[in-house]
Amino acid sequence: MSALDRATALELYRVMRTIRQFEARAVQLFGENKIWGTIHSYAGQEGVAVGVCAHLRDDDWITSTHRGHGHCIAKGADVGRMFAELLGRETGYCRGRGGSMHIADTSKGNLGANGIVGGGIPIATGAALTATYTGSDRVAVSFFGDGGANQGTLHESMNLAAIWKLPVLFVCENNQYAETNPVKDAFAVEDISLRAAGYGMPGVRVNGQDVRETYRVAADAVARARSGLGPTFIVAETYRYEGHYYGDPQVYRTKDEIEDWRAKRDPLVIARTWLTTDRLASEADLARVDREVDAEIEKGVAFAEAGEPASPIRLPEDVYAG
């Protein structure tokens, strides 16, 4: 593996830290009844979105899921406009029409989080078709969960992408559960990436808790896609710290299991360790990044809270063009 340079390594850490702090703050705002509905925290899975999106340009596309804050941030979104969306403000990415589960950011190629499990998969495949047909080297990435992997759309889309050699990455985040349903009850195989063989594309299983690993695997897959060699199926093994949604009683798993992942496989702790031992960053560097991230998050919340609430008079806007 080619060693990560200092700037890239620190940037991977910064984005992961931004996601972690964003989620912590979102949960807090939820507790203050400033956010309604449901929020699905990405905390614990940061290594996946960050390792993959680090290889993407603003003109590459992603499609995301109900657990989409992390993908959105990793693709370059402004946290202030994201918070504003969660708070239902006119200044939010979607003017309060989308909410947590539907944030899109076209300026960064984010075609949207998605409330329909598996819904974004063919859409990314379609964007990849655009890339091919326009003769560009743009790529598309679809993120989805282990639950999403059992939707028909994945199977149909993997087949289409393979026969048409589309520049798309299918990134399955196996966080071990789909709501309450553990993967062992939802798959007869332990290694989900084996499925790729049936469609004629490479399948890679990767430790999603070490961003170096996802970064390395995604580098190959993105390079492959850009050079016209077609799709890759990536399965990142990971874990979500909160329940399915914030407030989930989590009767389907034990506290010990959660603690074990947090203690031994936390993507931020792992990154801090190799950053310092490989002398890519000092403790002081990391402390500085943490402070900067905290400031960015607080600035974002302040921006959101100052925003004009979405107005009922404007309810009918944006249904149709014009």
């Binding site: 596309w61 499609t63 939010g92 990415y93 979607c94 003017r95 309060g96 029409r97 989308g98 539907h102 899109a104 950011d105 076209t106 075609l111 949207g112 998605n114 409330g115 329909i116 819904g119 998969i121 063919p122 859409i123 990314a124 495949t125 379609g126 964007a127 990849a128 078709l129 655009t130 890339a131 047909y133 326009t134 598309a140 028909g152 759309t153 149909e156 889309s157 087949n159 289409l160 026969i163 806007e317 944006d318 249904v319 149709y320 063009a321 014009g322």
Partner: protein, 306 residues
Amino acid sequence: MRRDGGVVVIGEDVAEGGPYGATRDLVAEFGDRRVIDTPISEAAVTGVAVGAALSGWRPVVEIMFIDFITLALDQLVNHAAKARYMSGGQLRVPLVLRTQGGAGVRSGAQHSQSLEAWLAHVPGLAVVMPATPADAAGLLRAAIRADDPVVVVENKALYYEKGEVADGALVPIGAAVTRRDGRDVTVVATSRLVGEALAAADELAAEGVSVEVIDPRTINPLDRETILRSVSRTTRLVVAHEAATIGGFGAEVAAMVAEEAIDRLAAPIVRVGAPFTPVPASPVLEDAYLVGRREIADAVRRVLRW
């Protein structure tokens, strides 16, 4: 397609023309990169078309029979229709979904349905139903140029109709047309039943009854004014479509007229539509199932007797 290189046709067997030849010869002119044959994967193919539309193309996706739209509905209803709204106007989905419905070809319950009312109920979609060759071309052209998803529901029985088609003519989405002027009763009919309504009007003219026939052409967004203006004059309304009466598009027209113009009505509104059964296969049963000229004429006589 000649005008805009971003227009692509995608679907099952489209390069070969499809079961009714609707896309025949396109591949010869535009090649297999713009006329894309797909495996049988309605959900993903529709989703791919949504993704292509979101990223700048104008795909025309074909669902071979409207009966199979069940497999594509998630992408159409939850994604195509809502992307603009959910994103606060950032995204747009200039997608056309072409499909065909209707009975009469003895193909049974899974190849004969009229499901347009489902789609007309979804904010974010437009639904058009051409009744003539000129409208089939003109509405499709307008649908392709629209910046929102438009579902074009053709009727397979009309594929054998012949008619003049002006080069390049656009038929605006959301504009009804009065097919025949009349004084006594307004008949609002869609798709295949437009021709049936005109035939009924001829028959009734011989009885001294003057029927006005309105073809909405677009069932959502509906041209309410044209219908209300006509009903205000004739004071009687019959609504006719091939789909089941219960929960059909005609219910929306009837309710709209009742809300907006009940004081102008001289008789209750009568709906003409199919009985509430799946479409049967046997010729005897299917003929009993289908409504047409006779049922429309009877309905007109009923509203006049009131």
